[in-house]
């Protein structure tokens, strides 16, 4: 075998330790796997087996996950031998282009703070008219295209791609290049070789852009990094390019999946869709975004960490060097925090979900994701009120093999 295959989702390891991630039940594309919910009911912590045979801890309850994600003895350093890697491809990515997402403080804070200003609430709020314009233009184009339309290709992917391109200063004309390479990186069964080639291409591309910005800076985030950090010698062009690659890939893949899968979930809940379509209340729209983030929990392979010291945890001790996985999709369905958690209720009105993670690594782009999703959910169903699926639900290709969950295609008509 040249590279480890993705784990078979239904198999149980000989030692009785369940394999992770687990398979969703057929016909329930929005719910976490039944075996995961069973572990959540049975106890606070258990061992699971990963693609590489390692057996880290799995934690599934909301309060426990929040506590561990804030624990200074818990590390995100994926060069640590005990770190539970999500795939062989992800391991390769870290080797070639390390970023703050897999560093601990103080390195993490030093690098992250170089890019936080552009994601501050007011800065992102100022982008709302531009995001609205992008959303409207794409809907205009869809309305004149032959039906059915693949909502992923024509809308869900272009919206966040165009937004993150504007923010970073990446030419949108290159979207075919960066989307295809990031698609390789977000599949769990991508070989280390393919992942390595994809990450090298992206970083090389971003390096040329940073170099270009050094000579001709604009008002975008890559120019800011080039002028304030690279030119001053604080970081190398390579480090800036790795950061740019992270922001570019994370900035479009995640939100794209929330747009397409969120639309599918709403189409399967017509009463919720109608309430959203008919409201003019920004508060209800914001609440719907939070609820869909909670309900769908598209990061469905857990937050990955490693213990740096022994941690007393109920009946067990998490030993220094043990891998720990925090299943945020399970936590977001924890009945002790979310009453009737399997019900999609756009009026639930809570931002307390763990869809963006928790602790110092909580999603950097969350204010941008929120505004993008608010604009999309407030506009798409109002402008195309008869929007419906063009195929049966069971014909849709779901991203069960992805680091981030969603649908590969969403054929719609109206």
């Amino acid at each position: 075998m040249t590279h480890p295959a993705a784990p078979s989702p239904t198999a149980t390891a000989p030692a009785g330790i369940p394999e992770y991630p687990m398979a969703r039940a057929s016909g329930c594309p929005f719910d976490p796997p039944p075996a995961l919910r069973a572990l959540q009911t049975e106890g606070r912590i258990s061992r699971v087996r990963l693609w590489d045979g390692s057996t880290p801890w799995l934690v599934t309850r909301y309060d426990d996950e929040r506590a561990l994600l804030s624990d200074p003895c818990i590390s995100s350093d994926n060069t640590h031998p005990g770190y539970p890697h999500v795939s062989a491809g992800a391991l390769e990515r870290r080797k070639r282009a390390p970023t703050f997402i897999n560093m601990d403080d103080p390195d993490h804070a030093r690098l992250r703070r170089m890019v936080t200003a552009r994601f501050a609430i007011k800065r992102v709020e100022a982008l709302r008219p531009a995001i609205q314009r992008i959303v409207d233009e794409l809907i205009d184009a869809m309305l004149t295209a032959p039906k059915p339309v693949d909502l992923v290709e024509e809308f869900a992917l272009p919206v966040p791609s165009r937004v993150i391109c504007e923010l970073l200063g990446v030419p949108y004309a290159d979207h075919g290049f960066f989307q295809s390479n990031s698609r390789i990186l977000v599949k769990r069964d991508t070989s280390p070789k393919a992942a390595g080639e994809a990450i090298d291409k992206l970083v090389h591309y971003l390096e040329s852009l940073v170099t270009e910005k050094l000579a001709h800076p604009g008002d975008d985030l890559l120019s800011k990094l080039a002028v304030e950090q690279v030119a001053t010698g604080e970081i190398s062009t390579r480090v800036a390019a790795a950061m740019g690659t992270l922001l570019l890939t994370a900035g479009h893949e995640t939100t794209a999946n929330m747009i397409a899968l969120g639309t599918l979930a709403l189409l399967q809940h017509p009463d919720q869709l109608a309430a959203l379509r008919e409201t003019g209340d920004p508060g209800l729209i914001a609440s719907a975004v939070e609820e869909l983030l909670r309900y769908l929990s598209i990061v469905h392979t857990g937050r990955r960490r490693v213990a740096l010291a022994d941690i007393d945890f109920g009946d067990v001790v998490i030993r220094a060097g043990d891998g720990v996985i925090l299943a945020n999709d399970a936590a977001n369905r924890d009945t002790s925090v979310f009453p009737d958690p399997d019900r999609l209720d756009i009026d639930r009105g809570t931002r307390q979900h763990l869809a963006f993670g928790f602790g110092v690594h909580q999603c950097l782009g969350q204010p941008l994701a929120r505004v993008e999703l608010q604009v999309v959910y407030a506009t798409l169903y109002r402008r195309i009120p008869t929007l419906r699926l063009a195929v049966d639900l069971d014909q849709l290709p779901f991203k069960s093999d992805g680091l981030v969950y969603g649908v590969y295609k969403l054929p719609v008509t109206w």
């Binding site: 200003a117 501050a120 909580q362």
Partner: protein, 65 residues
């Protein structure tokens, strides 16, 4: 009630600004938290408590008097 913030702990998530923009703001240069007031009026106290509880990096401390 008195609010204090730890700017070294802050990760600029903006959760507090979303919860109570009357009390919390972010620095222009890096999005790190700044206080608009450390003594919120009675009608904002509950929201300020919620902001402290939702901060992902525990950078907000509420002292009840």
């Amino acid at each position: 009630m008195r609010i204090s913030v730890d700017q070294d702990k802050c990760i600029a998530s903006g959760m507090c600004v979303l919860a109570v923009p009357e009390v919390f703001d972010q620095r222009e240069e890096d999005g790190i938290v700044i206080l608009r007031t450390d003594v919120p009026p009675p009608e904002l106290r509950e929201a300020a408590r919620e902001a402290a509880a939702s901060c992902p990096s525990w950078a907000i401390t509420v002292t009840e008097s």
